[in-house]
């Protein structure tokens, strides 16, 4: 029983990070029908901004209150930088291909991904770095389960940002426009919705969530390197497909499910398949329910 609870807790914490990344995949897919494979690398950049900013802050701030404040500052800075990178990514690499066949943008996305990964090795250096301790780590015993305050921080921050996203999508004109563009790009444009700006904003928003995920990931698994975005990126992509790509609540549920399943596999005798299980899920989903858990089957319009 305690194993079960322990695995569940670990899974929820990891899963909420996947969910944050998956949201970016799913939102971009919604508006552009493009799988932005560079998204995992934007998550990596978020971590690295956290690394440099965190290190700088650590030298200049002391005391608990200061450390919480500076952690928030690090988070905001990472969001800002990733927002800009995401914006430029769309503006430079995808917008010129708006009317090109979809495969062209897809290949470009893979290209951008490599650019960020190996460009990252050039700029940050290829060797792993140790993510700074933004918040002091505390071990918490809950009955028989052991956890850290990090898992709760991860969960709390993830919930706050998902709530914020939910509010933006359903409570603001940007969200309305985003849903309109997702439903039908051309009609939205004909109704006066500035589609280019909405798409830019979608990238910015998705990248900011990836930055949040990058910081939370750095806190939880402090070894970071320029290729760190690949695996979580792919798994978050699987999470988005699992939930139904293009579906926002689906991405959250998919992320949590992947995190929890992974955690249980890791805690079982099949622990060496931990990283593989997400892809088994991907295959099963594509075979039996390609529209995902929450996706609606839409026949191709003629």
């Amino acid at each position: 029983m305690e194993d079960f609870l322990q695995n569940l807790l670990n899974g929820i914490a990891a899963g909420s990070i996947y969910a944050l990344i998956a949201l970016g995949y799913t939102m971009v897919y919604g508006v552009l029908k493009l799988i932005n494979f560079a998204h995992g690398d934007i998550f990596m950049i978020g971590s690295f901004v956290g690394f440099y900013a965190g290190r700088y802050m650590a030298r200049h701030a002391t005391g608990e209150a200061a450390s919480l404040g500076s952690a928030a500052l690090v988070l905001l800075l990472a969001m800002l930088v990733c927002g800009i990178v995401g914006y430029l990514n769309e503006r430079i690499a995808y917008r010129p291909l708006r009317n090109a066949p979809r495969i062209a943008s897809l290949i470009t996305a893979i290209g951008v991904s490599f650019l960020l990964e190996y460009g990252g090795q050039m700029v940050f250096g290829p060797d792993p770095k140790f993510f700074p301790t933004l918040v002091e780590k505390k071990i918490i015993h809950l009955g028989t389960i052991t956890t850290t305050n990090y898992q709760f921080i991860v969960l709390a921050v993830a919930i706050v940002f998902m709530g914020l996203l939910q509010y933006i999508i359903y409570g603001t004109k940007f969200g309305r426009a985003l849903r309109a563009v997702s439903f039908n790009f051309e009609t939205a444009s004909l109704m006066g919705i500035p589609t280019d700006r909405i798409i830019s904003m979608t990238f910015v928003l998705g990248s900011m969530l990836a930055a949040v995920a990058g910081i939370l990931y750095g806190l939880s698994y402090p070894k970071i390197d320029p290729l760190m975005g690949i695996m979580p990126g792919l798994k978050a992509f699987v999470a988005a497909v699992l939930g139904g790509i293009g579906n926002v609540p689906g991405a959250v549920v998919g992320g949590l499910l992947i995190g929890i399943i992974e955690s249980f596999v890791g805690g079982s005798q099949f622990s060496s398949y931990r990283d593989g299980i997400a892809f088994v899920i991907l295959i099963v989903i594509l075979l039996f329910r390609p529209s995902g858990l929450f996706g609606r089957y839409e026949p191709e319009k003629v």
Binding site: L164, T172, R176, R179, A180, N184, E186, S189, L190, M191
Partner: protein, 263 residues
């Protein structure tokens, strides 16, 4: 700009798809508050013209001006911002959004606030959203849709969907409203109500209306001027009376007179 200046001017507009000339040398001027009909047999190029006017297709040749601005390099949403809004032959609502959200989305550009003020819930955000709500509800009232404001658009009956499309287009506050077969699929009673409504819209909002329609009762009943298209060419132009008695038009619709064909 004086009110007499035309809202829309299209000169020598031609579009070719490969070797097919879908529309050739189309000229049209629409003045403020005018009610103009565009008719012609199926495949005459009517919807293609709408698509060029709204920026979906770029004309191969010719010039389209909205206000006095040439729209050649404009994207559809930029043209909408100049004062053109449309509906579609096959209904194209945002079916996953509610009725109210559809109308609000149509007015997108008129409510301005930044992302930051939305997240921080500033006054500016509240005022803009309240204004959007109020304007949208007023439009829904006009089309008797207020009681269904919270329905998801896909669940509306067909006739309501057609009227919601017009409401959504009006939310963009156009100076020229393009209606693509607004009476398609409506019964006689609904069509009669639509005719009254179209006149009411023109008078109330002061918009010009250009409409494509196969229902002759509607076209002849409300249009002040009619343009007849066949095989991409304008074959006649004039008042409803002139059009009804024009032999070229009759021929385009009914074929050549039997005697002529036999001789």
């Amino acid at each position: 700009m004086p009110a007499t200046e035309p809202i829309l001017e299209s000169k020598n507009v031609t579009i070719r798809f490969g070797g097919l000339t879908a529309v050739s040398n189309f000229d049209l001027t629409v003045n403020p508050r005018e009610l103009v009909g565009l008719i012609g047999p199926n495949g005459a190029g009517k919807t293609t013209i709408f698509n060029m006017l709204t920026g979906v297709y770029k004309p191969t040749e010719g010039d389209i001006r909205v206000g006095a601005v040439s729209t050649r390099d404009f994207k559809p949403y930029q043209i909408t911002a100049l004062g053109l809004a449309r509906t579609f032959q096959n209904i194209r609502l945002f079916k996953e959004l509610t009725v109210l959200e559809n109308v609000k989305a149509g007015g997108h550009i008129h409510y301005k606030y930044s992302g930051t003020s939305a997240v921080l819930h500033t006054n500016r955000f509240h005022t803009a959203e309240e204004q959007a709500e109020e304007d949208a509800l007023r439009l829904l009232d006009l089309f008797d849709l207020r009681s269904r404001a919270q329905y998801t658009a896909r669940n509306l009956p067909y006739g309501d969907q057609r009227r919601l499309e017009i409401a959504r287009a009006l939310a963009a506050r156009p100076r020229l409203l393009l209606l693509d077969e607004p009476a398609a699929g409506l019964n006689t009673g609904e069509t009669a109500a639509l005719m009254t409504k179209i006149r009411e819209i023109r008078d109330r909002f002061g918009v010009a209306i250009l409409l494509i329609e196969h229902n002759m009762e509607l076209v002849m009943g409300i249009c002040e001027r009619i343009i007849v298209l066949n095989y991409g060419k304008t074959i006649a132009q004039g008042t409803p009376d002139q059009i009804q008695t024009n032999p070229v038009v009759v021929e385009a619709y009914l074929g050549e007179p039997v005697e002529a064909a036999q001789l």
